[in-house]
């Protein structure tokens, strides 16, 4: 028998339809696991498969959808028997294949859910290992509604078997997965991971799928699978029925086939009748597999970014080179600072964010993974993984949710040998630097040659040149007057090789005054020469001016709408600045909760006022005023919090002007939501208020074990610990933490708070203070430090 991926190239093939509907007609009770029948009623499962093969299906899905180690202790047996039943039915038939069917775990992955990525990979891997030797012809990963879980399943399938891997996802009425990915994002990621066919299943019905089949036709180079439901379930005369019948269903399937679907089948509510009708109506339609799409694309968990004529901005701010504050944040593990940089660059209009956390004194791989996971919770932009270390690239590419841009490979043997296999395995756009053992060639021709070498080596690994984005390197013009000209000429030559280009723009102006002038002019030149991506500073107005003006001038901005929006928003900022500074004092800005004004006004004050005077004379009195109003119920929590936000913004500015030795970490508090509790809103409110009052806060987050809290207090010699809990079930964890702290150091004082606590509870568990609200906790801390 032909391999399934060979057969797909020759003719249209068909999946079977739904399992539930048929098995329920055979007596399966609603809500019962059909997979158990693999052991108790195998003859019924075999008969189900036979019905589908008889109807014209080429591939039957094994009855193993919900099976995994977490749900069934006998998962191996269920998988083995499930495959056996399908194989019995396939025996002796022509073009009849068995797909080992693997559904989702039912759990959401980190950072939003509890399941760790590698645990998800392992859960799927156990399944795949159980299935690998049982004779299935392919693995079907189906009904996945999360891109990250899909990636975990594909990696598990690829690492534990040699079978072809087909993947179908569930798109909702908005044309996206439950966790946000659109078809283009899924295609980018799945093609990068080298699956053999991809598409959609389940969902609302064939009519809905018709709306997005075009996206698959336009972007997928792989066969496209379409396995819809029979419409929506409704109750008629007390019976559940699906809205679309076999005849209507198969009419839709004709349209789907004409719209670009390659492999057809059904999902919930469909029966052998639906498949037979589909086979009859589509078998004679002209057939072709999707064409190769020459698109350079990376993706996040929501969308794809296409690297083409419209320039791409890659934010450079998460890179410690020349940024002392980021270095400090990396050393202390201050994720908030890094995330803030990510969010600000996203809001500034970047398309991709570069992430480089390379510092000699930290574990770069661990920090990179931590940053990527945290960044992917707060920004939906694709990330560019930037490291010189192979293990850092691998760790990050594996756990990245989507198809990353990888920065970088170069023309040295060692680099190509290390990096290319990673792109081959995990997928990714690849920045290729034109440097090799001989250094950076001085001429444009030399740099193009290095690019050619990398392209050719990559193709040996099956990496098409569309994945490669060449960076011909911009060297400082102040030390080499030829530099800019050679780089621009290199772009011209490299474009002729049929690959895209990228440049780290800012380097060109190093060592010169008014760097923005040189950098932005060079950027304009490079864009005119055909540069696709720029790694740049999105907070540079000069750079953004060039970007928007270039697009408007080059037919990339229809009606100049983006330019107009941009131009009017920069105008607005200037007006706000002058207005704010005229009318407000720092004190009133904080009381009113005006964050931007507070920061601006502090900057103005810094020139002629001592930093500590700003804190004690303006910030603290303003906070006290609003704090008092809150305590007297004249102001509400949202207002208090806005003031705290404004005070924090002012503090940031003050801190920047304080020499490191003067910044006061003696007034500190360790904060944590106790083990078992994931509610942290109360703890976060306390944190921001404490910070706005100038306390140093060691925030351990939520669900924190007692030992970690103790260790943190000891490490920083901090005698004040704040604990929060929202659920009654976690109060014992709070008691345990207090006990441990008291045993460790009787001088440590604890303040506790949270919805379930009251004075009585606090006394009972031995807390030193019950913080009835955030202000009360601040007052206690002030008392504790006599300030």
């Amino acid at each position: 028998m032909k391999k399934i991926i060979e057969l797909v190239k020759e003719k249209r093939i068909f999946f079977d339809g739904g399992t539930g509907t048929v098995l329920q007609s055979m007596g399966l009770a609603a809500g019962k696991s059909p997979e158990l029948w693999n052991l108790t009623d195998p003859e019924k499962i075999i008969s189900l498969h036979n019905m589908y093969f008889d109807a014209g299906a080429n591939i039957v899905k094994t009855n193993t959808f919900g099976v995994n180690k977490d749900k069934f202790t006998n998962f191996k047996e269920l998988i083995r028997e499930g495959i056996r039943c399908a194989k019995v039915a396939a025996q002796g038939r022509e073009d009849a294949y068995v797909a080992y069917d693997m559904g989702p775990t039912g759990q959401l992955l980190e950072p939003l859910g509890p399941l760790k990525f590698e645990d998800a990979v392992e859960l799927f891997a156990e399944n795949v290992r159980a299935a690998a030797d049982c004779g299935a012809d392919l693995i079907l990963i189906e009904t996945m509604n999360d891109s990250y879980e899909t990636k975990a399943a594909v990696i598990a399938a690829k690492e534990n078997s040699d079978l072809p891997v087909f993947v179908t996802n569930v798109y909702d009425e908005s044309g996206k997965l439950m966790t946000g990915a659109d078809p283009a994002a899924m295609i980018a990621m799945l093609e990068g991971l080298r699956v053999d066919a991809l598409g959609m299943n389940c969902s609302l019905g064939p009519d809905m799928m018709l709306k997005i089949i075009g996206e698959f036709r336009n972007h997928s180079s792989l066969p496209v699978i379409v396995n819809p439901n029979a419409g929506l379930p409704v109750v008629r005369d007390g019976q559940t029925v699906y809205t679309v019948g076999a005849d209507e269903f198969s009419d839709y399937m004709v349209k789907l086939a004409q719209g670009g679907a390659t492999i057809l089948g059904g999902c919930c509510g469909t029966t052998p009748e639906f498949i037979a009708a589909t086979v009859n109506k589509t078998n004679t339609l002209p057939y072709s597999v999707p064409s190769f799409k020459n698109e350079t694309v990376v993706s996040s968990y929501t969308h794809a970014v296409f690297i083409d004529e419209d320039p791409i901005l890659i934010g450079e701010r998460i890179n410690p080179t020349g940024k002392p504050k980021l270095k400090e944040a990396l050393r202390s593990g201050d994720m908030n600072y890094i995330l803030n940089e990510g969010i600000r660059q996203t809001d500034a209009g970047c398309h991709i964010l570069d992430v480089n956390v390379g510092l000699p004194e930290i574990d770069e791989t661990e920090m990179m993974k931590r940053c990527i996971s945290a960044l992917q919770a707060v920004t939906d932009l694709p990330l560019q993984i930037d490291s010189t270390k192979t293990e850092t690239l691998e760790g990050a590419m594996r756990m990245y949710n989507g198809k990353p841009l990888v920065n970088s490979v170069n023309g040295t043997e060692e680099s190509m040998k290390n990096v290319l296999p990673l792109v081959q395995k995990y997928g990714g756009g690849l920045i290729a630097l034109t440097i090799d053992e001989g250094g950076i060639p001085e001429t444009a021709e030399g740099r193009a040659k290095v690019a050619e070498k990398i392209i050719s080596r990559a193709s040996e690994y099956g990496i098409d040149k569309k994945e490669i984005v060449v960076d011909p390197l911009a060297l400082t013009v102040s030390s080499n007057p030829e530099s800019a000209v050679v780089t621009l000429e290199s772009i011209r030559l490299i474009r002729k090789l049929g690959v895209k280009t990228s440049l780290g723009i800012s380097n060109i102006s190093f060592g010169l005054p008014q760097r923005d002038l040189i950098t932005s002019t060079f950027y304009a030149n490079a864009l005119q020469t055909g540069l696709n991506c720029a790694i740049m500073n999105p907070f540079s107005e000069a750079m953004m001016n060039v970007y928007f003006a270039f697009r408007a001038l080059n037919r990339l901005d229809t009606g100049c709408t983006d330019y107009i929006t941009y131009a009017s928003s920069t105008g607005e900022k200037t007006t706000v600045k002058t207005q704010d500074t005229k009318e407000e004092t720092l004190h009133t800005a904080i009381v009113k909760g005006l964050k931007d004004s507070a920061a601006l006004l502090t900057e103005k004050l810094i020139g002629n006022t001592q930093p500590l005077e700003i804190i004690d004379g303006q910030i603290i009195p303003a906070l006290n005023e609003i704090g008092l109003a809150f305590e007297q119920k004249k102001a509400y929590l949202p207002q208090l919090l806005m003031s705290a936000d404004a005070a924090s913004a002012a503090f940031e500015v003050v801190k920047r002007s304080l020499p490191a030795s003067q910044s006061d970490s003696s007034r500190a508090i360790v904060l944590a939501t106790v083990q078992g509790d994931i509610h942290d809103i109360g703890k976060n409110i306390v944190k921001v208020l404490m910070e706005s009052y100038g306390f140093t806060v060691y925030d351990l987050g939520r669900d924190v074990p007692p030992e970690r809290i103790r260790d943190c207090a000891l490490e920083h010699n901090c005698k004040l610990v704040g604990l929060s809990a929202l659920m009654t079930t976690t109060v014992p964890a709070m008691a345990e933490t207090i006990k441990l702290l008291n045993e460790t150091d009787p001088d440590i004082k604890t303040v506790v708070g949270g919805a379930v606590l009251n004075q009585e509870y606090a006394d009972m568990i031995g807390a030193d203070h019950y913080g009835k609200d955030a202000m009360d906790s601040v007052r206690y801390a002030q008392e504790f430090y006599n300030c």
Binding site: G31, G106, N145, L232, V378, I681
Partner: protein
């Protein structure tokens, strides 16, 4: 594979009016209080929120004292038993505001605690308002006691497991449960509502 008797109700952010009384209670402000912060958070949330509800109508056997037997789950609970008294059928439901709300909250936690706190309060009030809307649709002309959720009284949170499983809540709503029976997306509700004979 999946049960095929599950019904869906969906709505966009704009479809559902957030109950202002509920919101005021959650934000700790007086009724009818509003300001720019609350209104701007409300507007932003409205754009990203996607309400989805999955429910079934099923029999519930109440013949044994303090036992409510839905077949797919057998609940021993005095409070639920009392709530369902006089019912032989019930709606079993799960609903959510969607994962985009969690993402927005994660982002706001970093950028502005004031917006985070307010948005969290609005989202909580919003899912409650949607629950009222969905329940009204299900109920139609039927007579029902108030909806009752796992976690109320002695109706154990652990019943979230069979309930969400039965409703294919992972597949249809993207609701996931952790080991402490807490749901993601955070702004999600599960409940049962009896149907009076």
């Amino acid at each position: 594979m999946k049960s095929n008797d599950i019904m869906m109700i969906t709505a966009s952010g704009a479809d559902i009016e957030v109950n202002r009384r509920e919101l005021a209670a959650r934000l700790g402000v007086v009724r009818n209080y509003s300001d720019d912060l609350i209104e701007s958070c409300m507007k932003r949330l409205e754009k990203i929120i996607q309400y989805k509800c999955a429910y079934i109508r099923c029999n519930v056997d109440m013949s044994e004292e303090n036992i409510c037997d839905f077949r797919f789950m057998r609940v021993e609970s005095r409070n639920l038993y009392r709530n369902l008294s006089g019912c032989s059928e019930a709606f079993v439901m799960a609903m959510t505001c969607g994962i985009a709300v969690d993402r927005e909250l994660a982002k706001l936690k970093i950028t502005s605690l004031a917006e985070y706190f307010v948005t969290d309060g609005i989202a909580s009030a919003a899912i409650d308002s949607f629950a009222d809307y969905a329940v009204k649709k299900m109920r139609g002309e039927l007579k029902t006691p108030p909806r009752f959720s796992p976690g109320y009284g002695d109706f154990s949170l652990s019943f979230q497991v069979p309930l969400l499983e039965r409703l294919n809540a992972h597949g249809l709503l993207g609701i996931n449960l952790d080991s402490a029976y807490l749901m993601t997306p955070m702004k999600s509700i599960t409940a049962v509502m009896g149907i009076k004979k």
